[in-house]
Symmetry: C2
Subunit: 105 residues, 2 copies
Amino acid sequence: MFAALSSPVRLRILLWLLEPRAHFPEQQDGDLVDDGVCVGFITEKIGLTQPTVSAHMKKLAEAELVTSKRIGNWIFYRPQRKKLKILGNWLLCAADNSSVENSTK
Amino acid sequence: MFAALSSPVRLRILLWLLEPRAHFPEQQDGDLVDDGVCVGFITEKIGLTQPTVSAHMKKLAEAELVTSKRIGNWIFYRPQRKKLKILGNWLLCAADNSSVENSTK
DNA sequence: TATCAATATAGATAACTTTCTATATAGGTT
DNA sequence: AACCTATATAGAAAGTTATCTATATTGATA
């Protein structure tokens, strides 16, 4: 998870996905919030090639920070807010020294 | 910060530093909690060479996840709990950002 | 069925990271 | 001062990651 977040490109994309209406135009075939953002929009905004973006999205998905959903030709990526909250709480917990030594990573 | 945490070795070390009494023997010249843990202890426990550990500690320090303090010959590393809390809260905040949240927990 | 459009996969290359060995530095001790 | 001990820095080799171009896959459409 930290590895997935450690790339500035991926972190930027994830933050965009968390507030899709602030960063992307409306989509015809899928709702920005309910369905996610299509790869084409992300590719255009980040300014890298489409295969590179695909690879980044794969890593975010493997870390379960996003989920994907196909509608027609498009694949929509949506952030997994629950996962981010778990990570946030885990950090707070670790910072407070609450003798939790889990290694479920 | 995420880059610093993305190495399993560094994450492990940081978690040890957060609970030093659970993971290290007492030190003569510095208190495990108040002063931090010396590089020698960390090196022995992680099973890498001393220069490698030094490099890892440098990265953690550059990310301000630890601070260092010299006492005599030793350098003691102590975790920056405040920084971890800031990161944890930032993640929680980012996760909550957008308006609509489907509660499929 | 042939074609198109959106995304994924494969493979190559460059850049970065991790680790090591050897050596330097800085503080303490004799 | 000379030496010892703990940690840092330098430099090289190996492993990993990011990026590209070219191609494959998958679903929609004419």
